[in-house]
């Protein structure tokens, strides 16, 4: 009960839990579309691509205001996204290689910039390296509010364009023939993915962010055959794992938040893949056994 009390009244824990839960919802929702469009790895490439944006934003402004750093991350993420999409659409390089190229080049640049910043000897820079694995314990109210506004807008867009997003995720060609440009809607979806990534950088960090996108969607898919329900379950899984991971991180001093949340998510995903009611391995076996028994029964 102590934890429950702290969740409500302890400033740090309340912030951390709120921020991680909200991040879980946004990344769970947008991750569903990424996974269904077979773009799970896109999230990984884009979150790595955001790192140099964070560094450059700090170097140019000298400010660690969350909105400044998030904007830098978003711009770098979007540039990474446009690069990937251009490489895929305009060259013969396949999508896997395009993701690999952008991920490593941007992340490499980000690490170099981090080193440069750390060598500049200014006291203010401390903490930028937290963007690698995330440090939820450092979340302040200002960041939570910023995350809330940006993520809230992203969720609203999904709510309004749910029909269009579903159509493009399922049958982009058909969408194109009836006037819903799959390129434009696809770019919008990937753009929103960048938004989810950006609000996750403080908490989970660039390296493990893609798990926040993929794992809730993969887990949710095992429990339902409806997209709307899948999105809802993914949001719940994301939020639940976010809160649990954040509590672990804050109470067990020194455990970085990103890995803690990702471990919770992985547990959810493994349990779902085994026991999920719609696609889970165990129920699949049971159903097969039953139908075999039913077929053999009349003899």
């Amino acid at each position: 009960m102590n934890i429950l009390h702290d969740l409500l009244f302890d400033y740090t824990l309340r912030n951390v839990a709120l921020g991680s839960a909200f991040l879980g919802v946004v990344s769970g929702v947008l991750g569903c579309f990424a996974v269904l469009r077979r773009q799970g790895l896109m999230g990984d490439a884009l979150s790595h691509a955001a790192l140099p944006g964070v560094c450059l934003a700090y170097m140019l402004t000298g400010s660690k205001m969350p909105i400044t750093l998030m904007l830098g991350a978003a711009i770098a993420g979007w540039i990474g996204m446009l690069l990937i999409l251009t490489i895929i659409r305009r060259t013969r390089v396949d999508s896997g290689s395009a993701l690999g190229i952008v991920l490593t080049v941007f992340f490499g640049l980000g690490v170099v910039l981090l080193t440069v910043i750390q060598k500049r000897n200014d006291a203010n820079q401390a903490g930028l390296d937290k963007f690698l694995f995330g440090q939820a314990a450092a979340l302040v109210q200002e960041q939570i509010v910023t995350m809330g506004i940006i993520g809230g807008v992203a969720l609203l867009v999904v709510a309004f364009l749910f029909k269009e997003f579903k159509l493009v995720a399922f049958d982009p060609e058909f969408a194109g023939t009836i006037g819903f440009s799959p390129n434009r809607i696809g770019t919008a979806l990937t753009g929103l993915l960048v938004v989810a990534i950006v609000i996750g950088l403080n908490t989970v960090g660039v390296i493990l962010m893609s798990a926040m996108l993929i794992a809730p969607a993969a887990a949710a898919r095992q429990w339902t055959n409806s997209l709307a329900k899948m999105v809802g379950i993914a949001a719940l899984v994301g939020a639940g794992s976010g809160v649990t991971g954040a509590i672990l991180s804050v109470t067990q001093d020194g455990v970085p938040t990103g890995p803690a949340i990702v471990l919770c998510l992985s547990l959810c995903a493994v349990v779902s893949i085994l026991f999920g009611s719609a696609q889970g391995v165990v129920w699949d076996l049971v159903r097969r056994q039953r139908s075999r028994a039913a077929m053999e029964a009349p003899r």
Binding site: K166, D171, G176, N225, S226
Partner: protein
């Protein structure tokens, strides 16, 4: 509403499409009259799918003109229905048959507006027309190939179009489904709709269709089956491979 010279449903002039320098379609001129049932046939790689995708604006043309009922496709989207190849989508997508059919109504709904009760009813009627009313709530991965094809057909019916393009609607379906689909195509034609079908089975062309387009990168010929579906034209389209018709 009889016109002396009705506008062709599809009008194509000098259409050339190329992927990376290599021509896929070369200088196609084609008219498809309204209220006809037309098959597009030709060997693999002849550009059959590319032809309908270019007409639908999915593949950019290197040169040429396409008109649908005398207008650009973008202005006439709502009069055109499309059945893509069944294999072009992931049937493991989390949705049911009814939901897929409702997607046929999205074009008319426009942006943001969600389908409601009226749309559900329309979609159910369309599923009923293809004999799939009992499968409305079935997850699409649990449908057989023929049933999936019928769902796609029902989605096209929901579009309530005047002109339909269908990419191999008979691929991988059983004999019963094939007959059911042919009957639907014929009743569409009888209702004054124009239906254009990419088709693989040469044997059934004369029984299913009244017009045929023979294609092999260039247009070999097009016209009424009785006039142009000849051994000589087939030889020109398929070359020496006539003995090994694909599939």
């Amino acid at each position: 509403m009889t016109q002396p010279e009705p506008t062709p449903a599809v009008f194509v002039r000098d259409l050339t499409v190329a992927y990376e320098e290599k021509p896929v379609l070369w200088d196609i001129d084609l008219d498809i009259p309204q209220a006809t049932l037309t098959a597009i046939v030709g060997p693999n790689g002849a550009g059959k799918s590319t032809l309908i995708k270019t007409i639908l604006g999915l593949v950019p043309a290197a040169a040429g003109t396409v008109r649908i009922f005398g207008e650009a496709y973008a202005l006439n989207r709502k009069s055109v229905g499309y059945v893509p190849q069944r294999g072009s989508v992931d049937w493991d997508f989390p949705t049911d048959a009814l939901d897929v059919v409702m997607m046929g109504l999205y074009g008319k709904l426009g942006w943001v507006r969600r389908p409601g009760k009226a749309e559900r009813q329309t979609a159910l009627n369309c599923l009923d027309q293809v004999g799939m009313a009992d499968f409305a709530k079935r997850q699409i991965s649990q449908l057989s190939g023929g049933q999936q094809q019928r769902v796609f057909l029902a989605r096209a019916l929901a579009q309530d179009a005047r002109l339909y393009f269908m990419d191999e609607p008979f691929a991988g379906v059983d004999a019963t489904t094939e007959v059911a689909i042919v009957n639907i195509l014929k009743s569409l034609r009888d209702a004054g709709k124009t239906v254009v079908v990419v088709h693989h089975d040469l044997d059934s062309v004369p029984t299913y269709f009244e017009r045929v387009v023979l294609l092999n990168v260039r247009l070999i010929t097009s016209g009424p089956v009785g006039e142009v579906f000849t051994a000589e034209n087939l030889q020109r389209a398929y070359g020496g491979r006539i003995a090994f018709l694909d599939r």
